[in-house]
């Protein structure tokens, strides 16, 4: 049996309890000011980071988002000129599409891993698909090409992937050689210049 009255009292007590703690009772004026000052600094920096990292763009499907991280410029260039450049964007193949939760979770996991590697300057010269990415992409091939019978049979195999044979998805030339300097697309605008809007 639920005692609604005492429950309500309990929660109102909780709110009061938290409000009481937020006043940092007994900590001393100096530390109270210091902590709130630091909270302010952290919040400001977090906002700045949201702006300069184009954080909002990660919620979208725009392929330019992947180029925020400069190492993906060549993948972007080769995708654009490959067989799928006119019909798909990065996310169509590289993140799962079974439901919004797994899509977001995959994006978050991959994003966290990529940004960590990039920030530590540990990015490899040649990028390969991670073991987690392979089944996701394979499922996405089937998602669109499911009317092609052979394709579906193949997709059950653990040995073969669609791109074992269909190698031109990202164009004929892979990796860093995919885009000579002259043809490299520019980085997406970020809000570093306050007069310009971020994308």
């Amino acid at each position: 049996m639920i005692d609604t009255q005492s429950n309500a009292a309990y929660y109102s007590d909780m709110v009061g309890w938290i409000l009481h703690l937020l006043g940092l009772p007994g900590v001393g004026r100096f530390w109270q000011v210091a902590i709130y000052g630091l909270v302010g600094v952290a919040a400001g920096l977090a906002l700045l980071l949201v702006r300069i990292s184009n954080a909002a763009s990660y919620l979208s499907n725009a392929p330019e988002t992947c180029m925020n991280c400069h190492v993906m410029t060549d993948a972007y260039a080769s995708w654009q000129r490959g067989s799928h450049g006119r019909v798909t964007v990065c996310n169509d193949c590289h993140v799962p599409h079974d439901n919004i939760l797994s899509k977001s979770a995959f994006k978050a996991m991959d994003g966290a891993r990529h940004s960590t590697i990039f920030m530590l300057r540990k990015e490899p010269q040649v990028m390969h698909l991670s073991s987690g990415a392979v089944p996701v992409i394979q499922q996405n091939c089937v998602r669109c090409h499911s009317d092609q019978f052979q394709m579906i049979r193949l997709s059950d195999s653990t040995q073969q992937t669609c791109w074992t044979c269909h190698q031109n998805i990202h164009g004929d030339v892979h990796g860093l050689s995919a885009s000579p300097r002259e043809l490299r697309p520019a980085l997406p605008q970020a809000g570093i210049d306050l007069k310009k809007s971020g994308e």
Binding site: D13, P25, W31, H70, H174, L176
Partner: protein, 479 residues
């Protein structure tokens, strides 16, 4: 249900709840750490964007004749840093790499083939560009009295300046040791780049003149062609003409193929040395890398030297050409695998099997040519006249140049495998023709037994055989 909190904001004793001081300090510390992390992340993002977008910063002006690569390195630190890696001398592939392997120890037959010339004494795999200057002054091949300043041409970035000051003809005609003090920096930036624009440019006259001799204009070359042609300034076949004195010349007048070169060398009656065993006028091949490459599938598909030997490299937001020039087998995933999407192991196995095929054919050709030299020597010992031996010597000269064309080329034939095997097939065939002709001449002189071929199983034994022939005390080959 029991109430958890009896009195608002108070403990069980009715005292108002107070946080201990360490909680406050701890909170402040945690926040400080978070701020540092956020700040680092922001800085990293801004730095990486700046890296990728900034124009090239020219820290110091580079002079027209700047031969000091370190000076260029102030403006182009990444390229310079990678260039410095040509100092590495311990990389090894099946047939190449930067390790100074000794071809004569590995293969004593070459001691016989180069009898009487420098290559029979000292024949090492060349080290990286960084050592060009050091190595040319140390090789036993360049002992006095050989003194052509022409040898500096491909060794130092000071050459364009000195040539400009002296004149090209005068440069080549000088004494090697007289110019030694002027050669201060090894092959580097100035040899391929225009210091004002960084564009690729041809700094050595030999290649320009060879284009002109073929009725072509090298100034019309595209950027992609230049990515090979800057290498072709040195990685080609050349010889020192007699007139003008020691003038560096590419034998491309009848085309870049091996037949065209042989026709040209025959026409001008050129030989690098007379073989002491068979008295054959031999042409020593330099390193016709560009010529052989131009017959291969990669050249056909417009793939340049730099595409495989200097592939792109990325560092953060920056992409640049890797100036650590090396065997693509040491960097397969960035060179071959850009187009050939197989595993590194598969690619290496395929390349090595092509090279092994060529290497085996090279050995077969050497065997035939070495024996042909001895066969002619045997005919000489049987007092066969020089006029009768002349066609044999000419054929053997062609056979040995064909073999050397592939042997002296870098890459063990990989630059054009089918062309390499075609040339080696012709080489073996010609050498065996010489042997048949020699056998007939010997038979005519009444000798039907095979010559007693001397033991050349080690470098020293082969060298001693050479010395015997050079010293006019030839080993008796016939009974």
């Amino acid at each position: 249900m029991k109430k958890i909190i009896k009195t608002k904001f108070a403990d069980n004793n009715g005292q108002p709840l107070r946080l201990p001081l360490w909680v406050g300090i701890g909170l402040a510390m945690l926040l400080a750490a978070a701020i540092v992390a956020l700040g680092l992340m922001s800085v990293s993002i801004m730095e990486r964007r700046w890296e990728a977008q900034r124009p090239i910063l020219v820290a110091s002006e580079i002079g027209q004749w700047e031969s000091d690569n370190a000076k260029w390195g102030e403006n182009y630190p990444r390229q310079y840093e990678r260039y410095l890696m040509t100092q590495i001398t311990d990389t090894q592939t099946k047939f190449g790499g930067s390790v100074p392997r000794d071809y004569l120890d590995d293969d004593p037959m070459q001691v016989i083939l180069f009898a009487g010339m420098g290559f029979s004494k000292d024949y090492l795999q060349g080290r990286g560009h960084y050592y060009a200057l050091e190595d040319v002054t140390h090789t036993k091949r360049l002992a006095t009295p050989f003194q052509a300043a022409t040898c500096w041409t491909c060794k130092s970035s000071d050459v364009p300046r000195v040539m400009h000051e002296m004149g090209i003809k005068e440069f080549y005609a000088s004494n090697f040791y007289d110019l030694k003090d002027q050669m201060t920096h090894a092959i580097g930036c100035l040899d391929c780049h225009d210091p004002a624009t960084m564009k690729l440019r041809i700094s050595r006259p030999g290649l320009k003149e060879a284009f002109t001799a073929q009725g072509k204009d090298i100034a019309q070359a595209t950027h992609q062609e230049m990515r090979s042609l800057v290498c072709a300034q040195c990685h080609v076949e050349y010889y020192f003409a007699k007139e003008p004195k020691n003038y560096l010349t590419l034998p491309w007048h009848n085309g870049m193929g091996v037949e065209g070169m042989i026709a040209y060398f025959d026409r001008i009656d050129f030989a690098d040395y007379t073989h002491p065993i068979s008295k054959t006028p031999v042409i020593k091949a330099q390193h016709p890398d560009y010529e052989l490459y131009s017959k291969g599938i990669h050249a056909y598909r417009n793939v340049s030297c730099a595409d495989c030997h200097m592939p792109y490299r990325s560092e953060g937001g920056v992409k640049f050409t890797d100036h650590h020039i090396q065997s693509p087998l040491l960097n397969i995933s960035n060179s071959c695998a850009v187009c050939h999407r197989w595993s590194e192991d598969e690619i290496r196995t395929r390349v090595e099997s092509i090279q092994t095929t060529v290497a085996n054919a090279l050995l077969k050709a050497e065997e035939a040519i070495v024996q042909a030299h001895f066969d002619i020597a045997a005919a000489m010992q049987a007092n066969v006249a020089d006029e009768e031996l002349a066609p044999l010597r000419k054929l053997l000269r062609h056979a040995q140049f064909r073999w050397d064309y592939i042997s002296a080329s870098n890459g063990r034939g990989f630059h054009a495998p089918q062309e390499a095997m075609r040339i080696l097939g012709d080489s073996v065939n010609q050498a065996q023709q010489v042997r048949v002709m020699a056998a007939r001449l010997l038979a005519k002189a009444g000798i039907t037994d095979a010559p007693a071929y001397p033991d050349i199983s080690t470098r020293q034994k082969a060298f001693d055989v050479n010395q015997a022939f050079i010293g006019n005390t030839p080993i008796r080959l016939i009974k």
